[in-house]
Symmetry: C2
Subunit: 249 residues, 2 copies
């Protein structure tokens, strides 16, 4: 079934689109084996959350939009699963907040880097960073540490969807404001984030973009108020409670 053939009102629409895009990602050499396993973990947590965006996750998406709009140099980091699942949505978000897109892989190979850059260009990106790899993150082994000097290394705000814990911690150590999207509220990546968004990336990225459009003409003081009022720990507690108390039958 082609993605366009999945009816918008199908009760399992998001799940079918997700499965379709991940399969296509494997065909294109974008999604790795580890990415397929990570996708399964995400499915389980989304199932427990009721496959919905919690109000607390929506508030986090709004805080993320304010962070990105306030930034001097925001960068959206893209890994294999993010590129496979929401390529056009990532391009739209980068456009909405004036962010760079940079490909960053846990298992970096030149073939996958190139495939993901091309995939984002096919989905409307005008420029994609990550191939230069002329700077390094501290406290990580060689391949996983590679970033662009004029990209993530220079950023003050970084959005890292579906990042692994070590990389998320290394970015946090650099003092950059970090926005993490992850469906597991206990993962180390959301624990170290300034703005943890516990939501499916298929819902979260368009949601941040919608908030960014709405806040495009907001005063700086208003954006700072939104950022200041956001409570990361309360957001994670709420997501954990939703998983515990959700309707499991």
């Amino acid at each position: 079934m082609a993605e366009a053939e999945i009816p918008e009102d199908h009760p399992r629409h998001d799940s079918l689109v997700t499965r379709h895009r991940i399969e296509a990602g494997v065909e294109k050499g974008i999604t790795s084996r580890q990415g397929l396993i990570a996708q399964g973990r995400g499915e389980a947590f989304d199932y427990l959350l009721g496959e919905r965006t919690l109000p607390s996750a929506d508030a986090a998406a709004r805080a993320a939009a304010a962070h990105l709009l306030l930034a001097d140099h925001p960068v959206v980091s893209v890994n294999g699963n993010a590129a496979a699942l929401v390529p056009g949505e990532l391009v739209a978000l980068a456009d909405a907040v004036g962010a760079d897109l940079e490909v960053n892989l846990f298992n970096r190979t030149e073939e996958r880097m190139r495939a993901i850059v091309d995939h984002l260009l096919d989905h409307g990106a005008s420029e994609v960073k990550g191939l230069a790899a002329d700077a390094r993150l501290p406290n990580l082994t060689h391949e996983r540490a590679k970033v662009d000097a004029d990209g993530i290394a220079d950023a003050d705000v970084v959005l890292v969807p579906l990042e692994d814990g070590d990389r998320a911690a290394a970015l946090a150590d650099l003092g950059k404001a970090e926005i993490v999207i992850d469906l597991n509220p206990m993962s180390r990546s959301v624990q170290v984030a300034d703005v943890p968004i516990v939501d499916n990336i298929l819902r979260a990225i368009p949601n941040i973009t919608a908030h960014a459009h709405e806040l495009a003409h907001a005063e700086r003081a208003e954006l700072e108020r939104i950022v200041g009022a956001f409570d990361a720990a309360a957001t994670l507690d709420d997501a954990e409670r939703a998983i515990r108390d959700g309707d499991l039958s």
Copy 2:
């Protein structure tokens, strides 16, 4: 890292062994893409369970052993992930209870069937059924309905680790006693099982075998008492409670 190099006392031993065997399963054409995603879903539920065997899951494993020992013709059904994760353990269980091993795939191809049969033979199985495919389960599409006439079609007790819901329901409809291993206590496969075991297959299969050895010389009345005392609904409730109340921090 070869599996033999993973130290027994490593805090993530089971997780590392699992990852290693799944990767090897992909190399051998045993594990499918859907299998990798299913593995990830299992990881998330095992994480929520605390990666331990609940006392209720241990009681279920004991009831499963009693069922298999009482059976006239027990069959252990094997799919791709089960074969990749616990090939030797499945052979040991079949030996302990005098069961047939039969390969049954959701996405059946002759190549994968053959690869899995060979993998089980490599791990000490003397005979593996599933290639004859000369009988059909009711209410399933053609490929998914295929079973052996002198295997699952003839069995009175079937152990189906990691089975999908439709297949589990079709087996239950035939009036066979069904033992299902699945980490999701809300999945349809455990809901239709006579004996649902909510546990990691890496822990559950050796555990059933250990109970079978212990019960090998038990009186028939004692085995029947164990089977009769087992409460499937209470077992599922307990696993659900463990997920809700587990230490998530």
